[in-house]
């Protein structure tokens, strides 16, 4: 299979990139070098080539220009027997193959071209790149030149055979080694064996369970026995111990019963008898004691009461006396305070006169009230004084401002006068805006121009490529070329003619063949001997008849015919000649009859020859007419083109030419359009520049001499900016001056107003001073001092008045107090009338107190007397009650006197005590007897010897403790153990779970064993196949590889052959010119790469001997080769390219150069990306 063309319609960086491998009309074979510098898309092209054959990879990186969906590669393949297929490959999961019209194609259509070569296989056997070459070289080293592996590797195109083999070995060894232990399978086998043991140990056999079960039953029985025995013994011990406890109690009971018997006739008194008796005796005694004590006290009290006397008239005046006594304190205090008050009043008077002197020396104390207006008008005086201060400071402030404003105004006016007026920039601005609306016209012109240049260059280049027509670009649009329909018509006519020509050719060939065949057969026929013909017979007969006629004329006519006879026959006499003729004719006639078949065949052959010849002649004539028609068509065709002075090629070629022309025309149109656009733009630009310059002139500015709009614009814009800025400043200054002027005027007004206000105030002040009758020329501050002093003066006067009132009040109170005291004393204590009022009041008070205490004492004694009387009465009643009670107690106890009661009480208590002891003992016996009745216990106890009890009890206890109890413990423990063991045999799923685990391991082993077998056998199969391949192919392959190797190494090695290494294995050896053997280990890395290449080339040649060749795709393998070896390699590829198509991808121009210089008859084509 060969690739005729490869068209990257949309793939990688390409759009409609066509690589035509048959463009020069040559066969597609040969060496095709696809050259592209870095980034030109060499890798994409390489991928694209493979993608065409085997589909575009799902994750293809070649979608950076065209979307994945749009990727398309078109190609044309051709087999060795001339079959062709043109198709398109798109990207997708399925249905990726289309015919050129876009209809779906079955992938199967590729089968005759790919011949079962899979993508992987194509990659490996029919592709080689630099990486693979290096890897192949290294692999040869790894294989130590082992011949089989080296050949097999090259045969597969694989560069990792050794690694594959090693991988199989490693995999198998990691899984299993017969004597290993750590390998996956080995260790799993071990685990499995262990698990099996564990399952057995966790499993429970039925026998084991039943043994355990019956042992438990036995132990439980024994345990129950021992427990019964233990219980019996314990109850016996209990019984004996009970008797031990109960016997003394029974004895005590008997004693108590005896004692009771002796107290049979005692009167049993009630429980509260003793208490009642005691209460009665106590009550009696208490009452008697009370009477004894109370009677004397009653008498004494009566005497005291009689001795006390009280003055009733004093008690009646009690309230008045107490009132006087209370007022005595304040009376004394007032008398004491009076001198101080008098002194204070004096002080105030002195102060007042001194203050008056300060304010109005002209006034007396009596005229004080004349000063009142000062106080009453105080607020307005102060306000007026304050107003003065405010007015003065306001006037100052206004004056200052006025002066400052004047200075500022002067400065501004000076600055304003320095700025000159300038004209308006509006016209210029309008021009600028209109120019700006154009956009970046300079760049546009520039880019259009560069586009124009590029397009011009492109058009020129295409024009120079446009064959057949000599002319200039601008003549192109006007070129009168024939229309498509005419071309199609002519093309069809040509096609018809071609078909006819073909048909004629075929017919002629058939006719020639037939003619040749017929003449062959005729020749053969004739060589087999003469064939008589009717013509010959006729000739013979006519000859005979001629001779006969002569003879007859001679014989019958006697004519001399010798002259005529001499013409007919010369050798013999006429009759002989006639005779001979007759014989000849007869003979021929006979032969004609005898050889009728041959005659017939000859005739038919001749007829056929004749008709075939006729046919051939006809065909020749038809050829003639075809030629004439063709010539006519040619003329017609040429005349079609004559108007444009073109000598046309075939219509098909002309159609392609026309397409080129159309493209070119389109470009020329573009070119013209572009030119027009540019001139339009430039005109526009010029107009605007002029308008701008005009505006500048109007403003008196200098014109710009730049042709670039942008620079003119920026000049204008900066002018406008400057003008605007000056205008702005002017306006600002005018505004400020106006403002300041207004300010200055208002300040002048204010200053005037302040002065007027101050004068008004002076008048007001003066009037005030006069109204107060004060001296003139008093300043507001002096005035405030006078106000202060006046206020002080009035305060002091007020205080002096208050003191005067208080002194008067004290004198009044003292007088009224003295009158009251004198009255009281004259009525109650006339003897004390000469005492001072104060002393008299004290005496009166003590008299009142004395009478009051006597009255209280009298009352108390009366109360005590009453109490004592009632006590004596009560006690007498109690004595009677108690005596009655004692009498009734005596009758109850059946005794006669009160004194006997105690004896009766004692006896009754003794009886009750014994009875209680008896009850206690009986209760104890019942408790100790644990449910047995006293009678039963008495009965049982009768036969028991108390002394034997301890011995019996000890014996029983010993038996329990030393014998039975240990046995029970042991048995209970044994039972517990057995129960526990049985409990463990509870139907656990431990063993089952382990079995699950064992199954898991078995599964793992099974899977790994399978992997092991696969790896092991794969290695084994591959090795034996390598060996077989070596045996079958070693000779011719090594011979061919040897030639390549010698050539590739430029004769550094003369030969490649097999040798045997120390292990007696066949290995590759290079032979030097001097006969030295070099093993692969001794070769340089580069040489090994060449060895690998030699083997690959030899293997390819072998492949092609028996299989349809496939293109060999070589990707830049020569990078590391020096110039000479690179040439040698290219040469080797060129030689191979005579047998199959070779497509070499390279980035290196040197490689292209070298290829061009190759001295090879192989066909070489360079394709640039």
């Amino acid at each position: 299979m060969k690739i005729k063309s490869l068209d990257f319609t949309a793939f990688g960086p390409f759009t409609d990139k066509l690589l035509n491998f048959s463009s020069s009309g040559q066969e597609e074979g040969g060496l095709h070098i696809i050259y592209g510098s870095n980034e030109a898309g060499k890798s994409s092209a390489l991928r694209g080539l493979k993608a065409l054959l085997y589909g575009i990879d799902a994750r293809s990186p070649d979608n950076f220009v065209h979307d994945h969906k749009k990727l398309r590669i078109k190609g044309c393949l051709k087999t060795n027997n001339g079959k062709e297929l043109e198709f398109v490959r798109r990207k997708g999961n399925k249905n990726t193959l289309l015919d050129p019209e876009g209809e779906l194609l079955d992938e199967q259509v590729l089968t005759p071209y790919l011949q079962g070569v899979t993508a992987d296989f194509f990659n490996s056997l029919f592709g080689i790149d630099h990486q693979a070459l290096l890897k192949g070289g290294k692999e040869i080293l790894k294989q130590k030149g082992e011949v089989g592996q080296a050949l097999f590797s090259a045969g597969l195109g694989s560069s990792s055979l050794h690694s594959v083999l090693k991988q199989f070995d490693d995999e198998a060894e990691a899984l299993f080694l017969p004597r290993g232990s750590k390998q996956t399978i080995n260790s799993a086998l071990k685990s499995y064996a262990e698990l099996k043991r564990e399952i057995t140990s966790h499993s429970l056999s039925s026998k084991e369970w039943h043994e355990q079960q019956s042992a438990l039953v036995k132990t439980t029985g024994e345990l129950e026995q021992i427990q019964l025995q233990l219980a019996a013994n314990r109850s016996e011990i209990n019984r004996l111990q009970r008797f031990q406890r109960v016997l003394p109690k029974l004895a005590r009971r008997r004693e108590l019963l005896e004692e009771l018997k002796t107290l049979a006739d005692v009167v049993i008194l009630s429980d509260d008898f003793s208490r009642r008796h005691q209460q009665a005796v106590n009550g009696l005694e208490t009452a008697q004691t009370v009477i004894g004590k109370t009677s004397p006290r009653f008498k004494t009290l009566q005497e005291q009461l009689d001795s006390l006397s009280v003055r009733q008239e004093v008690l009646e005046q009690a309230e008045n006396i107490e009132d006087l006594h209370t007022r005595l304190g304040s009376y004394r205090k007032a008398l004491q305070d009076r001198p101080n008050l008098q002194a204070e009043w004096q002080q105030r008077q002195t102060d007042i006169s001194s203050l008056l002197k300060d304010i109005r020396p002209d006034l007396e104390l009596e005229d004080l009230e004349k000063l009142r207006p000062i106080i009453s008008k105080r607020q307005s005086i102060i306000e007026l004084g304050n107003k003065n201060t405010l007015l003065v400071s306001q006037a100052d402030q206004v004056e200052n401002n006025h002066r400052e404003t004047e200075v500022q105004l002067k400065n501004l006016l000076k600055e304003r006068s320095s700025i000159s007026e300038s004209g308006s920039s509006q016209a210029l601005q309008r021009s600028i805006i209109s120019a700006r609306r154009l956009g970046d016209i300079d760049t546009a012109i520039q880019s259009q121009q560069s586009e124009l240049t590029a397009l011009q260059a492109l058009c020129d280049a295409e024009l120079s490529r446009l064959t057949l027509w000599e002319g200039k670009l601008d003549e192109l649009p006007g070129l009168a070329i024939p229309n498509r329909e005419s071309i199609t018509r002519v093309e069809k006519s040509y096609d018809d003619l071609d078909k006819r020509f073909e048909l004629l050719g075929e017919k002629q060939e058939a006719a020639v063949d037939s003619l040749y065949d017929t003449s062959q057969r005729l020749d053969k026929f004739q060589r087999m001997g003469d064939v008589p013909t009717e013509k010959e017979l006729l000739e013979l007969r006519s000859n005979r008849d001629d001779v006969w006629k002569l003879l007859r004329r001679q014989w019958l006519g006697g004519e001399d015919i010798s002259e005529e006879a001499g013409r007919i026959t010369t050798e013999v006499v006429l009759p002989d000649a006639f005779e001979q003729r007759v014989v000849d004719a007869d003979e021929l006639s006979d032969r004609l009859r005898r050889e009728a078949d041959r005659v017939h065949e000859l005739a038919s052959l001749q007829a056929k020859e004749q008709s075939t010849q006729q046919q051939a002649d006809d065909i020749s004539r038809m050829f003639e007419s075809y030629k004439a028609e063709k010539k006519q068509l040619d003329t017609q065709w040429q005349s079609l083109w004559s108007s444009c002075k073109i000598f046309p090629q075939s219509p098909r070629e002309m159609r392609v030419w026309l397409e080129h022309l159309a493209t070119l025309r389109q470009r020329v149109e573009q070119l013209n359009g572009l030119r027009q656009e540019i001139s339009e733009l430039e005109r526009n630009r010029k107009t605007h520049i002029e308008s701008l310059n005009h505006a500048l002139e109007q403003l008196g500015k200098e014109c710009s001499n730049s042709k670039v709009l942008e620079s003119v614009l920026s000049e204008c814009e900066s002018t406008v900016q400057l003008m605007d800025r000056a205008k702005q400043k002017q306006d600002l200054l005018d505004k400020d001056i106006k403002k300041l002027k207004m300010n200055f005027d208002s300040l002048s007004d204010e200053s005037k107003k302040a002065k007027q206000e101050l004068e008004a105030w002076d008048l007001q002040w003066q009037a005030l001073i006069e109204s107060l009758e004060l001296q003139e020329k008093i300043s507001p501050s002096e005035m405030s001092d006078i106000i202060e002093k006046t206020r002080d003066l009035f305060v002091k006067q007020n205080e002096a008045e208050k003191l005067q009132i208080r002194i008067q009040a004290i004198d009044n109170d003292a007088e009224s107090f003295r009158i009251l005291v004198t009255d009281m004393v004259s009525s109650l204590l006339p003897e004390l009338s000469d005492l001072s009022a104060a002393d008299a009041v004290i005496r009166l008070n003590s008299l009142l107190n004395d009478n009051r205490s006597k009255q209280t004492q009298c009352q108390q004694i009366k109360e005590q007397l009453e109490l004592a009387g009632s006590e004596i009465q009560d006690s007498r009643a109690v004595i009677q009650t108690m005596t009655d009670r004692l009498d009734s107690l005596c009758s109850e106890a059946k005794c006669e006197r009160h004194a006997d009661l105690e004896e009766s009480e004692r006896k009754s208590a003794d009886y009750l005590k014994i009875k209680m002891s008896l009850d206690t003992v009986e209760q104890e016996i019942l408790e100790t007897g644990e449910g047995a009745s006293i009678a039963r216990l008495e009965m049982e106890a009768e036969g028991i010897d108390p002394d034997s009890l301890p011995v019996k009890i000890a014996a029983l206890k010993n038996k329990n403790n030393d014998e039975l109890e240990p046995k029970r413990t042991n048995l209970a423990e044994a039972k517990g153990r057995k129960e526990k063991e049985l409990e463990l045999m509870d139907g656990s799923d431990a063993a089952a779970a382990l079995a699950d685990q064992a199954q898991a391991i078995l599964t793992g082993i099974r899977a790994n064993a399978d992997n092991y077998v696969r790896a092991k056998l794969a290695g084994r199969v591959l090795r034996s196949e390598i060996e077989r391949y070596r045996k079958e192919n070693q000779g011719p392959l090594i011979k061919r590889a040897s030639e390549h190797f010698s050539a590739l190494t430029l004769g550094s090695f003369t030969e490649l052959m097999t040798d045997f290494n120390e292990a007696d294995e066949p290995v590759l050896t290079g032979i030097r010119a001097d006969g030295d053997h070099v093993y692969v280990e001794g070769m340089s890395a580069g040489t090994r790469d060449q060895l690998y290449l030699a083997l690959r080339l030899a293997s390819l040649e072998k492949y092609m001997e028996s299989n349809e060749p496939m293109p060999f795709i070589v990707d830049d393998i020569l990078v590391d080769f020096d110039d000479h070896r690179s040439e040698a390699a290219l040469n080797a590829l060129a030689v191979l390219s005579e047998k199959t198509q070779i497509i070499l991808f390279t980035h290196h121009s040197k490689c292209v150069e070298q290829a061009k210089k190759l001295q090879s008859k192989a066909h070489l084509e360079i394709h640039e990306l």
Partner: protein, 421 residues
């Protein structure tokens, strides 16, 4: 009206087959699966208040010796006893071989039929007769049903029998009998066991294989359980399948044809496993993943086989549900272009493939190959070399299969090494 449960082939404590353990596998969830399923049976019997339970053979696994299994069974029978539910059992081929049954003392609600001759048990309260005979030895080749008595028309007659019926593929041919033979006995219900797939053989009378109650390997996929039968006035009125299994086996076959990349396949695997898991209704599953079809990602899947198995395991560990145990990953896809075309070519690769084909046909070469793996074979335990899922690496048929794999393997390894740019 009364109900009864018909179950069979419990195979108590028999291990699950084919589950290699790996990190993240739901080991605990699947532990004691047969017991779990049997517990479900006991619960169902009590919940549904059935009158009796029929166990149609193969209660135990033949070579399982742990008496604990028997004790477990006894305990569960005790529960049925407490609930007043009777149990009728015939021994199957596995029970005949089991050592557990010999000494087991079962509560008195459990009746085990004789293995010498057919017996009948009359349940007067229900007007039911149950006929049955167990396997006396592992291999019973006679038709046991022949000796079963004729049904009594006054009663509801049930025949309990462990049989392969007229032969079922994958099951040993024990106690064979015919549907006509069974019909002729005039019973209303034949409770059969031995065949692990549920099958309603006939409805007139009812002849039923309930299948086993818990799948134990990949050939026993789908829902497993027992048959719950309702009887009224001496007639079957309802026969329902009730699921008992605690984990389920599932084959996830995925056609990867036209999948562009291994990632697409990965997503498809996820979906398929999730579907299987959802179908198991909250149970964990053991799944076999089978990738079939022609696909361009083929080479990658094959050459990174172990990696992808690991990826799929991780994937299954992270699915929503009760857990997936990936039993096996079978990668079946073949190269888009058949190797046969390569075979036709006279070159190194064609030669290799041809050699493999020759080997497959040549007994002596196969013997040579068997020799190559004999050291492994010697070490393998008998449980692998024989038994249900026997694996003998030296077996010629297996070697032929292996060669097919090797062909694929060699093609992949030799051609998939990186070439070109």
């Amino acid at each position: 009206m009364f109900k009864f449960i018909h179950a069979a082939d419990v195979h108590l404590d028999s291990p699950l087959h084919g589950l290699e353990r790996y990190e993240g596998a739901p080991v605990e969830e699947i532990r004691s699966a047969t017991r779990g399923a049997f517990d479900n049976l006991i619960e169902l019997a009590i919940d549904e208040d059935v009158a009796f339970v029929l166990l149609a053979g193969d209660l135990y696994d033949g070579d399982w010796k742990d008496y604990n299994t028997g004790l477990y069974f006894t305990e569960r029978m005790g529960r049925l006893h407490n609930a007043g539910i009777r149990v009728f059992i015939v021994a199957g081929n596995h029970d005949a071989a089991s050592q557990i049954t010999r000494h087991l003392r079962l509560p008195d609600n459990v009746t085990i039929f004789s293995t010498r001759k057919p017996e009948q048990h009359i349940l007067d309260d229900l007007n039911v007769v149950i006929y049955g005979q167990g396997f006396a030895k592992r291999e019973v080749k006679d038709d046991l049903s022949l000796d079963y008595p004729q049904g009594d028309p006054e009663f509801f007659n049930i025949g309990l029998l462990h049989t392969c019926l007229d032969g079922k593929p994958g099951h040993e041919s024990y106690a064979p009998c015919t549907v006509d033979g069974l019909r002729s006995k005039g019973y209303q219900y034949w409770a059969l066991g031995h065949v692990h797939n549920r099958e309603l053989v006939s409805e007139e009378p009812w002849i039923v294989f309930p299948g086993n109650i818990q799948g134990r390997h990949i050939r026993e996929t789908g829902s497993k359980g027992c048959t719950l039968v309702s009887v009224e006035n001496g007639e079957v009125i309802e026969v329902e399948h009730r699921e008992l299994d605690v984990m389920r086996w599932s084959r996830c076959e995925i056609d990867v044809t036209d999948k562009e990349s291994v990632d697409d396949i990965y997503e498809q695997v996820r979906n398929s496993l999730q579907l299987a898991l959802d179908a198991a209704e909250g149970r964990p599953i053991a799944a076999r993943l089978i990738l079939t079809g022609i696909c361009s990602a083929h080479t990658k899947l094959h050459s990174e086989r172990e990696h992808w198995i690991q990826e799929y395991r991780n994937l299954s560990n992270n699915l929503d549900g009760a857990g997936v145990w990936l039993e096996k990953v079978v990668i079946k896809p073949r190269q888009p272009i058949s190797a046969d075309e390569l075979l036709a070519q006279d070159d190194a690769l064609g030669g290799l493939l041809d050699a493999i084909r020759t080997m497959e046909l040549d007994e002596s070469t196969l013997a040579d190959l068997a020799e190559e793996v004999s050291s492994l074979r010697q070490k393998l335990p008998p449980e692998i070399l024989s038994g249900e899922d026997n694996y003998d690496p030296a077996d010629p048929d297996r070697l032929k299969d292996t060669l097919e794999d090797i062909k694929e393997l060699l093609l992949n390894r030799l051609l998939s090494t990186e070439q070109g740019s």
